[in-house]
Symmetry: C2
Subunit: 323 residues, 2 copies
């Protein structure tokens, strides 16, 4: 939540002039985005979002993300559309950073998702998956199972500073989840980070999906498992099965899950909890005190992980009813 | 430059509904404003700025600021216009803070002001002064000469941590400036903080004046003296007389200065430099390391103060020419 890079008026006017969006009218740094710096920019042709990519996002991945948004947007997914400059490029350079201009999406994220929101998120996720099937680029999931153990090794020695025996718990989960991980499931482009703050609503109608900077190729059902973790738990860490049923039902109304995907959902959800536990634990131990961006509490995901261990079939998420 | 107070979607929708501006479409915290939290809010009727007043702004002063903006806006000064709610009030409450919605002004501040900008700032400042003459409310300048000594006493013991003999320099300046301060000059409502980041331009045309949260009643020429300090010095701390002449000329094209005001300009400019030296020095010594908002360097104003000590008449600012 920060503006890492300040942009001055003259360089921004020069940058904007190359995009055919009319004169610059105003720009303000916005306190959103943990990885990148974002400005809301008004031009004669309306509002836009300017993103400056900070070092945590690999520059080589940016064409994948930008082309994906263009591809999905053309297929009706309500995501930001990168604007192309006079050289036919979506990626420019500003204030020493790679930079892109994308369309502004109205809407705002809901702090207290209800089942109705979950239905729509499920539906939008499935639509995103279908729209991505013919996207020609490929990006390996750096935070998929193969990336978990190396990430763990970077903070293994200090893990118990977060919670007693956390290192032992994670080591056991890495083994068990890896052993039970599906060999093959329907795959394609996934969002991989569709948390509530990346989904906009106006009233109760979904209006936008943002932040495609973790998007990659992986099992489609794994994306749904991430959403189960992100959308369906209450503050007391209990699964709200009304919400998880709604999420899965919304998804299946657009793209019915195959039996193998339904069977795999418990281990995928456990893996997703482990993935967020790992990145949060790493960030927790590596964020200097007084940093602008406060790290998320990793224990939220330790508790989810424990819950998923108790689930043996998809009925654990649908309350026993067919979703 | 920070969002101090987070607003959730439900409380904002409730708040906005009372203002007759149409449904809430989006809102984003903006990284502007040192004292308060600001959001850019889109509704069906267009963009607005939502300000949540943090503790550094005295709640009792808010009616003065909001009524002043309404008064000036009605007289053509391009400042934010507070929106009135269904109870006829401009001041509401949100997320435990006093809060106001004001119109959004297009434009952006210029990082490298040129003489042409200074002409327009001078003109706009004089127009603000004339428009404020019939404003019926009154607010004493808490950061006028009477407030300087008590402020100094709060950090006097530690002043030399900033620069050698700074305490001695300030003590001498307080005496000399107080002794030479004018007894009476044309007075009225002044902005009191019209720095470049509070003046918006589109291209080279002034489009807005913002941040009225230091506005008060004081000598009108003192406001011009603040602008001399804020707009007309180069990075090497030398006065750019082309800019200072342009600023004064722009001001006089709308409101000619009286002889007593012209005579007083050197001591007013010296007093203005002292005022910003004092607040910056205080903040410099009292900002915890790692704070979100970095304090300004007080020495910028020590150097300006030294410059103003060498000026004996207004010709020092106009390059000897009649402005």
């Amino acid at each position: 939540m920060a503006v890492y890079t300040e942009v001055n008026d003259e360089e921004l006017e020069t940058f904007i002039a190359d995009y055919g969006v009319g004169d610059l009218l105003s720009y303000k740094g916005i306190a959103e985005g943990v990885e990148n710096t974002n400005y809301i920019v008004h031009t004669r042709s309306g509002p836009l979002i300017l993103t400056l990519y900070e070092k945590r996002v690999a520059r080589g991945d940016l064409p994948f993300f930008l082309n994906l948004m263009k591809h999905l947007s053309a297929r009706g997914v309500p995501c930001p559309l990168p604007v192309t400059n006079s050289h036919g490029e979506m990626l420019g350079e500003l204030a020493g950073r790679a930079a892109a201009l994308v369309t502004f999406l109205e809407g705002f994220w809901t702090r207290r998702p209800k089942a109705e929101h979950c239905v729509q998120v499920g539906r939008a996720l499935a639509e995103l998956h279908l729209a991505g099937l013919d996207f020609p680029m490929h990006r390996t999931n750096a935070l998929g199972p193969a990336g978990w153990r190396p990430l763990f090794q970077r903070f293994q020695d200090r893990a118990d500073e977060i919670a007693p025996a956390l290192a032992e718990t994670i080591a056991r989960e890495l083994d068990e989840v890896a052993g039970a991980w599906p060999q093959a499931l329907p795959s394609g482009v996934i969002h991989a980070d569709l948390f509530p703050d990346n989904v906009f609503f106006i009233g109760e109608t979904l209006s936008g999906l943002i932040d495609f900077y973790f998007a990659c190729n992986d099992f489609l059902a794994y994306d749904l498992a991430i959403c189960l973790n992100a959308w369906c738990f209450e503050k007391n860490y209990e699964l709200n099965t009304t919400k998880s049923r709604a999420l899965i039902r919304g998804y299946q109304s657009v793209r019915p899950l195959e039996p193998a995907e339904l069977d795999a959902l418990p281990v995928l959800a456990r893996g997703a909890a482990l993935r967020f536990l790992l990145t949060r634990a790493h960030d927790w131990l590596n964020t200097p005190p007084g940093a602008i961006v406060k790290p998320h509490d990793p224990l939220d995901y330790l508790r989810r992980l424990r819950f998923h261990r108790t689930i043996t079939s998809v009925a654990g998420y649908t309350g026993g009813n067919e979703a």
